[in-house]
Amino acid sequence: MYSLSVIVRTICDVFAWFLAVFGVYVIIHGHLTPGGGFQGGAVVATLFAFLLVAYGGKKFIPFYKSNLFSWFETVGLLLFIGTGLVGLGTTFFYNFLAGQGGLFGSTVPIGPNSGVLNSSGTIALMNMAVGVEVIGGLSLILYYMFKGIRLYEESGSEETGHDR
């Protein structure tokens, strides 16, 4: 895939970063506004699709660290299930932070209000964990679907089971 025209690249340069910031906002405000970890993570992952389309594989792939995104994915998942496992003192997935006053522990007024960022307990924590996981996962899918066939052709080894 080759890079597109200078107009597309300039617009990408300007707007890609707004996209990333917006995605992070959607993740962090998941418990206050519509959205959440999955949606925000998907928005951030679009950033990579955007860069890939505008700049083309040749320029983009060298900058792409697929190991980093594997770690994103693993860390996000472990944080998610870890938060669930910490609740095992009571039950699996117990929200042990909500209303406790500490991290994410503020209470909100009942009914319509302007929102308290430091509320909702593990919900916010899990939003972030899932956000990190989705950024990693979708970027990996994108990368491998773009690069996949070429990787496969380079490999040279045949893996056809035991009978061939």
Partner: protein, 115 residues
């Protein structure tokens, strides 16, 4: 009866997806058919949760709280959408691999496994 039009749309989308899966010859079109079926299931869930005149179930900066639509179908649909996304990604990857092996996207030529 005409008030139930959204249900009719669900049925039609489901059947169109089924048609694409059963009768289309192109693998990409089959994948589109599967996605259509997923879309119909998601649409059905959302439609079931609608209350006439209801607002979204989010309290942040909500004006005055009147009726709200049912929140559970929205939560279920979120889950179902991500699952659908995962399935579509894998399905397209397999199609790429099939094209690599067989050099065609025509289902009639992709049949080494028979009998």
């Amino acid at each position: 009866m005409i008030g139930n039009l959204p249900y009719l749309v669900v049925g039609i989308i489901f059947l169109l997806g089924l048609y694409a899966v059963l009768f289309e010859k192109n693998l990409i079109k089959i994948a589109i058919g599967v996605s259509l079926i997923e879309a119909s299931a998601n649409l059905l869930l959302i439609v079931l949760g609608y209350r006439t005149g209801g607002s979204i179930p989010v309290f942040t900066l909500a004006g005055k709280v009147g009726k709200m639509v049912l929140p559970v179908p929205q939560a279920l649909t979120l889950t179902a959408i991500v699952i659908g996304l995962a399935t579509s990604a894998l399905m397209l990857s397999l199609i790429m691999m099939l094209y690599k092996h067989y050099g065609t996207l025509d289902v009639r030529e992709i049949r080494r496994l028979r009998g």
